[in-house]
């Protein structure tokens, strides 16, 4: 009977699972993160694997040896998509990579196993890059900057470096309300805080500059060239909730 391997939804957990699968020669039917709510396949036997930093580090090293650090980062990005079944895609790539049939296998982004991962990784990175501009801080009490985001993919950790450098001397919090955790930065130190169900109230904290920003946003558009379709393509409606300049705007134009 094949196994449904369960792990704690982190990338380290996934890599540990891969390690154990190799060590114990497991017959894997699916790899299932704990957050998954989809019904279990009744023909699979659940099998839990605990996360181990050391095992994850060994798999990391192996990936770098067989391919490159770049490929490791790409796998990580694809993993952050949280798409159902992404673990098996990565696993089948790793199986082929570790089998060592083709020494250049890791360099081919267009191979059958790599291509879906490559595309997924690209779209995660695209969202992470776009999100850098879409975080809106509100100034809270004691001058703390507070922002709430709801990205489609789990990109918060990919943004840490950018904001720690840019706002090095500020105290700020970026909270992912969809996943219930945030990044808190104070005095040059950044840490992950888990606050399930927390309300930042970032959209209710208003001051003069929020109003001025709205005013600026309204007057910068050229009326003769209005283009709602283009606007929605560039700035999808799912982000509007957390943007003060668009939050109150009606969803107009084409659906």
């Amino acid at each position: 009977m094949s196994l449904s391997v369960q792990y704690d939804s982190t990338f380290e957990g996934f890599l540990s699972a891969v390690f154990e699968i190799y060590r114990q020669h497991l017959d894997v039917g699916e790899i299932r993160p704990d957050r998954s709510t989809a019904p279990m396949d009744m023909f699979l036997q659940p099998f839990r694997i605990e996360t181990s930093e050391e095992q994850a580090a060994r798999i990391h090293r192996a990936i770098v040896n067989f391919a490159s650090e770049e490929v490791y980062n790409l796998l990580h990005a694809a993993f952050l998509s949280e798409e159902a079944g992404v673990e098996m895609k990565i696993f089948s790539f790793l199986k082929k990579l570790f089998s060592g049939v083709d020494p250049n296998y890791g360099k081919n982004p267009a191979s059958m196993e790599m291509l879906p991962i490559y595309k997924l990784g690209q779209s995660v990175r695209r969202e992470a890059g776009g999100m850098l501009g879409l975080v809106r801080f509100a100034v809270g009490p004691d001058n703390m900057l507070c922002a709430e985001i709801e990205p489609k993919y789990d990109v918060l950790m990919l943004m840490e470096n950018h904001f720690s450098k840019r706002f090095a001397n500020e105290k700020w919090l970026i909270y992912d309300s969809k996943r219930g955790y945030g990044l808190f930065h104070d005095q040059g130190e950044c840490q992950v805080v888990t606050l399930p169900g927390y309300k930042t109230g970032a959209m209710d904290l208003k001051d003069d500059f929020t109003d001025l920003w709205r005013e600026f946003y309204k007057s910068i558009a050229i009326k003769e060239r209005e283009n709602p379709k283009l606007l929605r393509r560039c700035l999808p409606v799912r982000y509007w909730n957390h943007l003060p300049e668009r939050a109150t705007a009606p969803v107009s134009g084409l659906r």
């Binding site: 982004p109 776009g130 946003y217 209005e226 283009n227 606007l231």
Partner: protein, 416 residues
């Protein structure tokens, strides 16, 4: 007048400037300061017209002493006038930046007393932002034609990018529409920056301060005067090759002023032509096309129905179809419908396998246009030679089929 009112007037006055990019410069946050510059550039929002907003784009003042026909701020227009104080503008920039609304400041101005006076004010604001407030974000400063070399030089030290707008693509039309301006006065600051940048590049040391790290850009209005696309592209190509400009922006003319020298007020902005010009511009910047390949004396204007790459390909049937397995990267880039990313994927993927159509589909290469121009093992016999007159109708946008009107008077074309 309060800041809100000023911001409304002065950002509305600046909106016809197209440039809003924040790319090309990479700077670490200054110690104890705020902000850095990201070399890829970051868009922070998109305005209702679909244009990206990444900088706080405002004029310092719209009280202009010039009288250019195409400009909303010209002396003879009756519009509310406003001027920011440096303090207001600096506070706005920093507070917007802290809230991550913007990537930096885009500061332009109408000519207030004389060019030097205006430029001095612009430079002063940039200097204060950089030195007093230790601001590390992006600054785009307009260079005012006619300003002295000393001020331009100082602007280059504080700003990431500078721009002088050429506005009208030929000297004769420019002097006709803007009596106070001519090509020479626009080229002077551009050349000055280009030369200083070369000097700075030559002396590479850790201690050399950066001079306009994101280079220069310019903008021209399309459709306000009678220049052909060929003239426009040859001008842009000169800017890219000689002045080493990073970007040339094209702005379809939006009629603002009633003036007998300009198209009538009811003219719709020529957005399709503007779009085609940008496509041609991209071909020059990223696809290694020369301007005289895209257009020539015989074809002085871009085809509004087809993009310039297809138009070029249909004029050169002898080069197609291109064998994707063996052709150079440069040639693959020239296949209509294939962009830089697809071309790179093809070139790196074909080393490992013989590429067939299904591989291309999986890679996400868009075959809608490319399929007529590529050669692969599964190419049907009918497509092994390119017949432009046969392919062209297939590439044209299909007319939308709507429901027929029962009471329309137009006779139905029935099949014989």
């Amino acid at each position: 007048m309060d800041v809100r009112e000023k911001l409304r007037i002065l950002s509305a006055a600046a909106k016809y400037d197209v440039s809003c990019s924040s790319s090309g410069s990479s700077r670490c946050a200054p110690t104890g300061g705020l902000g850095d510059a990201c070399s890829a550039g970051i868009c922070h929002t998109w305005a209702a017209d679909g244009r990206c907003v990444s900088l706080l784009k405002v004029l310092l003042s719209n009280a202009c002493k010039y009288d250019c026909a195409y400009c909303v701020n010209r002396r003879s227009n009756d519009v509310p006038r406003a001027t920011f104080t440096p303090r207001e503008l600096i506070q706005l920039t920093i507070e917007f930046y802290r809230r991550n609304y913007i990537e930096g400041l885009f500061l332009s101005s109408a000519v207030i007393r004389d060019p030097d006076y205006t430029m001095e004010l612009l430079v002063k604001i940039a200097r204060e932002l950089r030195t007093v407030h230790r601001f590390g974000g992006y600054i785009h400063l307009k260079a005012i034609p006619g300003a002295s070399a000393r001020l331009l030089y100082e602007a280059g030290l504080y700003a990431d990018r500078s721009s002088v707008n050429i506005e009208i693509p030929s000297d004769r039309s420019l002097q006709y529409l803007a009596p106070e301006k001519n090509f020479a006065s626009v080229y002077a600051p551009m050349n000055f920056f280009a030369e200083r940048k070369l000097e700075y590049k030559a002396s590479v040391s850790r201690y050399t301060p950066s001079f306009l790290p994101a280079g220069q850009s310019t903008q021209m209005i399309v459709g306000a005067s009678g220049e052909s696309d060929y003239q426009i592209l040859s001008l842009s190509s000169g800017f890219y090759n000689q002045q080493k400009l990073k970007r040339v922006y094209y702005s379809g003319y939006v009629p603002i002023n009633a003036d007998k020298r300009l198209p009538v007020l009811t003219t719709k902005p020529s957005l399709v032509r503007e779009h085609r010009l940008y496509q041609a511009d991209w071909l020059m910047r990223f696809y290694k096309f020369r301007y005289d390949e895209i257009l020539d004396e015989a074809h002085p204007n871009l085809d509004l129905e087809l993009d310039p790459k297809i138009a070029w390909a249909l004029r050169h049937p002898e080069l197609f179809p291109v064998d994707i397995q063996h052709a150079d990267y440069e040639m693959i880039l020239r296949i209509p419908g294939i962009g830089v990313k697809s071309a790179q994927l093809i070139v790196s993927g074909r080393r490992f396998t013989k590429l067939r159509l299904e591989h291309l589909k999986k890679m996400g290469v868009v075959l809608k246009r490319a399929k007529y121009f590529i050669f692969h093992p599964d190419t049907p016999a009918s497509l092994r030679r390119l017949y432009p007159e046969m392919v062209r109708p297939l590439l044209l946008p299909r007319p939308k089929s709507g429901q027929l009107d029962l009471f329309a008077n137009t006779p139905l074309a029935l099949p014989a």
